[in-house]
């Protein structure tokens, strides 16, 4: 157990080192002077020189890389050019809505996908199964931003059940803020539930034919216990992986969904940073989100070791 944990920790560190290097390089693939691009066509030569100096662009590439790594290791992701605050502070200010949006969407996706996937596998080939798999296929083909717009139009404007956009004012209570996230979470979760549902179904189909399921039935156990306690528990392993991966997919989807619903989260921060060419913010977001993804993968791996003793080689 300790050996495999250490092995995975090492793998994670290597991947993270490559991620940091790639993020560092992104600014340097810009055609022309990054400082000039960031400041736009109206900038004077002095402004550009000052920014180059501030960003350390005059030093040789290897020195810049070294400084960047040291900075990242100290939790310093640079300074936003436009907001004029440290990137970590900008990200922290916007973290709450993105965190809760992702969490709620994951909850929505799992709550839809697990029961539907289990029932689909149990009643394989029935009309329920056919409709469920078709809907899953359809929802994986819908652009999340378009679904979001349709949801706004139908649930918020026509029916008036939800707020159309935003995250409540500065005085909004926690409950009010979460209320604003319901519709975005629904639209994001619905799109992402397809993947989890298909995996749950396939995984359940695998185990439902296994000997121990037959044995459980032969012992006269109730169908509910057979399916939920015996089959589902064993089918859960691949499903856990997919739920972990979906979380990463959700962060990506959140970028677009936040823009559609006007939520001031990390996603809208990134989009405005891209439009303003605020490279330190873009780099910081990339680094933090991919870091979270790598951590998530690690957590899923660890969960694996815990759920399935066979993996502890």
């Amino acid at each position: 157990m300790i050996r495999s944990t250490l092995h995975r920790l090492f793998g994670m560190a290597v991947v993270m080192a490559i991620v940091i290097s790639l993020v560092f390089l992104i600014v340097h693939i810009t055609p022309g002077d990054p400082a000039a691009v960031m400041l736009g066509p109206d900038a004077t030569g002095a402004d550009i020189a000052a920014l180059r100096d501030q960003m350390g662009l005059n030093a040789p590439l290897w020195q810049q890389f070294f400084h960047y790594i040291i900075g990242v290791l100290h939790g310093d992701l640079g300074r936003s050019i436009f907001l004029n605050i440290p990137v970590t502070e900008a990200l922290w200010q916007r973290a709450e809505p993105t965190f809760f949006l992702t969490l709620m969407a994951l909850l929505v996706a799992t709550l839809i996908a697990l029961p539907v996937g289990i029932l689909s596998a149990y009643y394989r080939g029935s009309w329920f199964d056919q409709i469920a798999t078709s809907v899953a296929m359809l929802s994986a083909s819908i652009p999340s931003f378009w679904l979001g717009l349709l949801f706004i139009q139908f649930f918020a404007v026509k029916l008036g059940w939800f707020d159309t956009s935003g995250y409540g004012g500065p005085t909004a209570t926690f409950g009010e803020r979460m209320n604003h996230l319901l519709l975005p979470a629904l639209s994001l979760g619905a799109v992402c539930s397809a993947l989890i549902m298909r995996f749950t179904r396939a995984s359940m189909l695998d185990v439902l034919n296994d000997d121990y399921v037959r044995t459980a039935r032969a012992k006269g156990m109730s169908e509910y216990r057979v399916v939920v306690k015996h089959a589902f528990k064993n089918a859960l392993i691949p499903v856990v992986t997919v739920i972990g991966l979906t979380a990463a997919l959700l962060i990506s989807g959140a970028i677009v969904t936040e823009t559609v619903f006007g939520i001031p989260g990390v996603g809208s921060l990134t989009v405005s940073a891209v439009l303003r060419r605020d490279y330190p913010v873009i780099q910081g977001t990339l680094l933090v989100i991919s870091g979270l993804y790598v951590l998530m993968n690690f957590a899923v791996d660890m969960l694996y070791l815990w759920i399935d003793p066979r993996v502890r080689y």
């Binding site: 793998g11 991620v19 790639l22 994986a140 083909s141 139009q153």
Partner: protein
């Protein structure tokens, strides 16, 4: 002898095509996709109006017999614009598929065949997979500058590791087969082994992965255009049409409704086609098998 061989091959190809088409969903998906591709390609002849032609007097008109999908805020015909936008969206998708087929296959083959390269290349692939697709794509477009070519490069880079992973996994299996060992024993040069004996046997996973990447690239391109960080806003794509139409959602929902449907139908057809291909080419993976 040679004649019978030719007949055999064509019969096999025929049967593959007909087997694929014998599944109703796959056949419908293929026909729909064909229709979409042809109508985009023939847009200049099929479109009833010039997609850029302004007619303020006809602005925000609901769908009728003249404008079957209505008009937008500047009086332009939505149907004609969807046809032309399809050219951009589909060609970006196809270019991304070509890009990843080259880079992903190369990376996957090298990682899968040469043991010494496997660990470093696999770590690189893992690291690239850690970036969420849209986020990496917008960061790359931001660095490279917005244009169709840069969107293709960005999405190509985003989907390369996904292709490489599949190709690597298949190469690892093929590498161990006896005929590769035989080829090595006969001193067949490595590039020939890679091309003739391995790459040609990777057609199935490659083809299946291509359809899924095509579908994802269309969704991602639409997302980028919607965010305003994709191809230039002056060029109509399905994503920019939705983005521009959202301001008029209350009065004229058709402006954003139809381009969205175009995306859904295209992506759905590609996914169904990919599923059909996968079930046929690799029966072990068939759903519910």
């Amino acid at each position: 002898m040679s004649i019978s061989l030719v007949v055999n091959t064509s019969a096999r190809q025929d049967s593959f095509f007909w087997q694929l088409m014998s599944r109703p969903t796959t056949a419908i998906a293929a026909v729909l996709l064909g229709l979409i591709v042809v109508s985009a390609a023939l847009a200049p002849w099929l479109a009833p109006f010039n997609p850029g032609q302004l007619a303020i007097i006809h602005r925000l008109k609901a769908p009728d017999l003249l404008h079957i999908m209505g008009t937008d805020e500047l009086g332009r015909d939505v149907f004609s614009r969807i046809l032309f936008a399809g050219q951009t969206s589909l060609s970006v998708g196809i270019s991304v598929v070509v890009f990843t087929s080259i880079t992903g296959v190369l990376l996957g083959l090298l990682a899968g065949y040469f043991r010494a390269l496997d660990a470093p290349l696999s770590r690189l692939i893992d690291a690239m997979m850690a970036f969420p697709d849209i986020l990496l794509a917008i960061a790359l477009v931001a660095a490279l500058g917005p244009s169709s070519t840069n969107v293709v490069i960005a999405l190509g880079i985003v989907y390369t590791p996904r292709m490489a992973r599949v190709i690597r996994a298949s190469t690892l299996v093929i590498r161990e087969l006896p005929y590769i060992e035989a080829a090595k024993a006969l001193a067949v040069p490595t590039p020939v082994i890679l091309y003739r004996h391995i790459l040609r046997n990777l057609t199935s996973p490659l083809l299946v992965q291509c359809t899924f990447i095509f579908a994802n690239a269309i969704l991602a391109e639409a997302g980028l255009s919607f965010l305003g960080v994709g191809v230039s806003p002056d060029i109509p794509t399905w994503g920019t049409m939705i983005s521009q139409g959202r301001q008029y959602m209350d009065q004229a929902s058709w402006i954003m409704l139809f381009p969205g449907l175009a995306i859904v139908i295209t992506v759905l057809s590609l996914q169904l086609l990919g599923d059909g291909l996968r079930d046929l080419l690799d029966p072990r993976l068939a759903k519910g098998a």
